[in-house]
Structures are given as structure tokens and as C-alpha cells.
């Protein structure tokens, strides 16, 4: 019985991993579905990184618009990322986290611009930072901020 607590710890870990995997897959699938739908809806609102407007583009007004989002990674993906950090190499499990974060931030920025009646967003930039570092410096969640200059025709 001496080592029962160690095995209890391992069992807790496996249960957390199972819950994380299931819930994480579901949340990710739903988010991507929503992202694809809104990208179709807002596809006509141009986003570019160029700083200067073409001289022929009508522009009655320009406004700063931004979209930000905080996305968290599930327990399973965080665990696998921690294992990867022992050996080095690409951390595949965080790729979808960052992809979702950036696309969601862009969509929110576009939504803000659409509400202002803008036709395009210029000088688009991203800022990404990790917040809520999990226990012992693991990444818990990521904040992505997208900002740019909305041009109202």
C-alpha cells in the first residue's frame, strides 16, 4: 500500500488527459467551424498590411480598429507540449492554438470595422503574448491582438 498515492497521482493524470483530449477536440472543432463561417461572411472587408492607401481609394474617414482574443489550450495538448520540450522539435500541439487565436482576432477586428462602415483595413499588425502561465512555466493561454487602420469610404 506504500506506493498507492503515486499510482493515484498517475490515475488522476490519465483522467485529466482523457477529459482534456475530449473537451479540447470538441471546443477546437466548434471554433474552427465558427471561424470558417465568419471568414466567409466578412470576406469582402479587405485586410492588408500595406501602410499606404492607393490614391484612387475613396476614404472619408480612418479609424483605429482592433480585435483581441484569449485562447486557452486544453490539458492534453499542454501535457504533450511539455513532453516535447524535453526532446526539442516542433511543438505541433500549440499550432492550432495560435492559428485560431490569430484568425479570431482578425475576425473581431473586421467585425469592428464593419460596424463602422469601413470597406478595408490597412496597416494590419498582430501582437501575441502568453498569459496565465500554467504551473511551472507551461503555456496556459494566449492573447492575440490584431489592430489596423479602418478606411471608411
Amino acid at each position: 500500500m506504500q506506493y498507492l498515492s503515486e499510482f493515484a497521482n498517475l490515475l488522476i493524470l490519465l483522467l485529466l488527459l482523457l477529459a482534456g483530449y475530449g473537451a479540447g477536440r470538441l471546443a477546437e472543432r466548434r471554433h474552427y467551424k465558427s471561424i470558417l463561417r465568419r471568414e466567409d461572411e466578412l470576406g469582402d472587408l479587405i485586410i492588408v498590411v500595406s501602410k499606404t492607401l492607393p490614391p484612387t481609394m475613396p476614404a472619408s474617414d480612418t479609424r483605429l480598429v482592433m480585435g483581441n482574443v484569449v485562447v486557452s489550450v486544453d490539458y492534453f495538448k499542454r501535457f504533450v507540449a511539455q513532453l516535447r520540450m524535453v526532446f526539442g522539435g516542433r511543438v505541433h500541439t500549440y499550432e492550432s492554438l495560435l492559428d485560431r487565436g490569430r484568425r479570431e482576432a482578425l475576425l473581431r477586428m473586421q467585425k469592428q470595422a464593419r460596424a463602422l462602415g469601413a470597406a478595408a483595413i490597412f496597416n494590419t499588425r498582430f501582437e501575441t503574448s502568453s498569459i496565465s502561465k500554467g504551473g511551472k512555466n507551461s503555456i496556459g493561454s494566449v492573447e492575440v491582438l490584431a489592430y489596423g487602420t479602418a478606411v471608411v469610404p
Partner: protein, 280 residues
């Protein structure tokens, strides 16, 4: 120049890589690596400790046992004396390292337990004595503990576990909690497996001493029959082999060595048959 949003192709910034495959491959790699390193350290530490001078072992515990004798009453002293006499008779049939003297202590506790520790010190609990019907049954327990002393098992356990704990402390200090959880389960498996093997060896050596003293091994399995009265943990989680396996092991070794499983029982000395208790 005309600007337009183009739908970007999927699957470029997010690779189609199965996280489950990563999980299994990386977990297996870490567990295998840790197991190899931990097993190496455990056995190396134990081997090193077994070869350390006996004087070091004695010095480690000398201060703990210095003033004990003056604190006991006459009944306890008599019980301790009888236990020591039995231990001396059995020690004559066990190869003890030079400088290591077996010293037995009577432990006034209701547990059915006995253990050996550093410096040749052995503790026999009242609870165990009360369950021994005769000297033959007690002799197996005593010789098992003397075998631990002879094999330097307490020192080996200390040395091996120390090195292993050092490894854990170094690797897990900056590791995430989840990695700790992944490693400590298999670590426990390793330690309990190591412990079970030393217990098997002690049973073997102890049984040889019992057979040499009495000419037979009757009642050698009695203590394990007592343990069978209580539920036992699963084998892999236990620091000791299962009691049924130990009883079978005694019968198998007796057959191999040609020892009689039955024979005359030697009664316990009165001080052992009725051990003193602080408050009854």
C-alpha cells in the same frame, strides 16, 4: 493595384499531426529513459552502499542507540535477552560481515511487524510475538531479519533510494506537475519491485538458517499465514511478495534442499510467550 481578400488554403500553419501519436511516442520515450536511468542508479547506489565499510553504517546509528538499555524495566530486559539469545543461535548459521553485530530490540507495539535497520539492529514487535505459537515460527521471522542485516539490505535501500531521490529532485524540480505524475507511478513500481526481490532473498537465507538450527522447517510459513488474515495490496504495488507466494516458496525450497516440512516444535521461552506491554 486592386486589393482583395483571398481565401487562404488550410493545413499550412497547422500541420496534420496526430497529438495522440505524439503523446504515446513521447511518453514511451520519457518513461523508458527514466526507467533505465532510475534502475541503474537504484542498483548502483545499492551495490555501492553494500560495499561501504560496516563502521560507517555503525557510526550512522550509534548515537540513536547509546542510552537505550538504562531505560527498560526488568521484564522488557528479559524478553529482549531471550530474543537476543535466539538471534545469536541463528546468526551462527548466517554469514555476517565482519564488524556487523546483530542487536535485537523488543518493540512494545501492537503491530504484527518486525524490521531490520542500519548497524545490525532488529526490532520485533509485541503484536508479532503474541501471534507466534512456538520458537520455530519466531525463528523464521528472526532469521529473515538477520538475513537482511547480513546482506546489508538497510544500507543498500538507503544508498539506492538516496541516489534515486536525487535524480528525481534534479529532474522534477523544474518539470511541470504533469511530468511529475507521469514519472512517480513507474518510480514506485521500480522501488517496490526492488524491495520484493530483497525480501525473497532474505526468505531464502533465513530458511537456510532455520533448517540448520532445527533440522527441519516446520512452522517457517506461520507468519505468512498470519499475514493472509488481512487483505493484501496488489502484487505490483506491494513492497513484499504476496504471502501465499512466500509460503509456496518455502515448500519449494524445502523440496529442493531436502528439508523436512514437519518436525518437533520448540516452545517459546516464558518471557517471549507472554511479552510485556506498557498498558494492558
Amino acid at each position: 493595384m486592386e486589393f482583395k481578400n483571398v481565401k487562404l488554403p488550410e493545413g499550412i500553419n497547422v500541420s496534420a499531426h496526430s497529438p495522440l501519436a505524439d503523446f504515446f511516442i513521447l511518453s514511451a520515450g520519457i518513461l523508458a529513459g527514466f526507467a533505465a536511468l532510475a534502475a541503474g542508479l537504484l542498483f548502483f547506489g545499492a551495490a555501492l552502499a553494500r560495499h561501504a565499510p560496516v563502521s560507517w553504517e555503525n557510526a550512522l546509528v550509534a548515537a540513536l542507540f547509546e542510552n537505550q538499555e538504562s531505560a527498560v524495566d526488568s521484564r522488557t530486559a528479559e524478553t529482549t535477552g531471550e530474543l537476543q539469545t535466539l538471534a545469536d543461535r541463528l546468526s551462527a548459521h548466517i554469514d555476517l560481515p565482519e564488524g556487523l553485530v546483530v542487536t535485537v530490540h523488543y518493540w512494545d507495539d501492537a503491530q504484527i511487524n518486525a524490521f531490520a535497520t542500519l548497524g545490525g539492529h532488529i526490532f520485533i514487535a509485541r503484536g508479532l510475538l503474541e501471534r507466534m505459537p512456538n520458537e520455530n515460527a519466531l525463528a523464521m521471522v528472526m532469521s529473515h531479519e538477520i538475513a537482511h542485516v547480513a546482506h546489508r539490505d538497510p544500507a543498500a535501500a538507503l544508498g539506492g533510494v538516496l541516489l534515486l531521490q536525487l535524480l528525481l529532485a534534479v529532474t522534477l524540480d523544474s518539470a511541470p506537475t504533469s511530468l511529475e505524475r507521469l514519472i512517480t507511478g513507474p518510480n514506485a513500481l521500480l522501488l517496490s519491485g526492488f524491495s520484493r526481490e530483497t525480501e525473497r532473498q532474505a526468505d531464502k537465507i533465513g530458511l537456510h538458517a532455520v533448517a540448520a538450527l532445527y533440522g527441519h522447517v516446520a512452522e517457517a510459513g506461520r507468519i505468512f499465514e498470519v499475514f493472509l488474515e488481512q487483505p493484501e495490496p496488489p502484487k505490483l504495488l506491494s513492497t513484499h511478495p504476496l504471502s501465499r507466494d512466500r509460503i509456496d516458496g518455502i515448500a519449494a525450497l524445502a523440496r529442493t534442499e531436502g528439508w523436512a516440512l514437519d518436525g518437533p516444535r520448540t516452545p517459546l521461552a516464558p518471557a517471549l510467550a507472554d511479552p510485556p506491554a506498557a498498558a494492558r
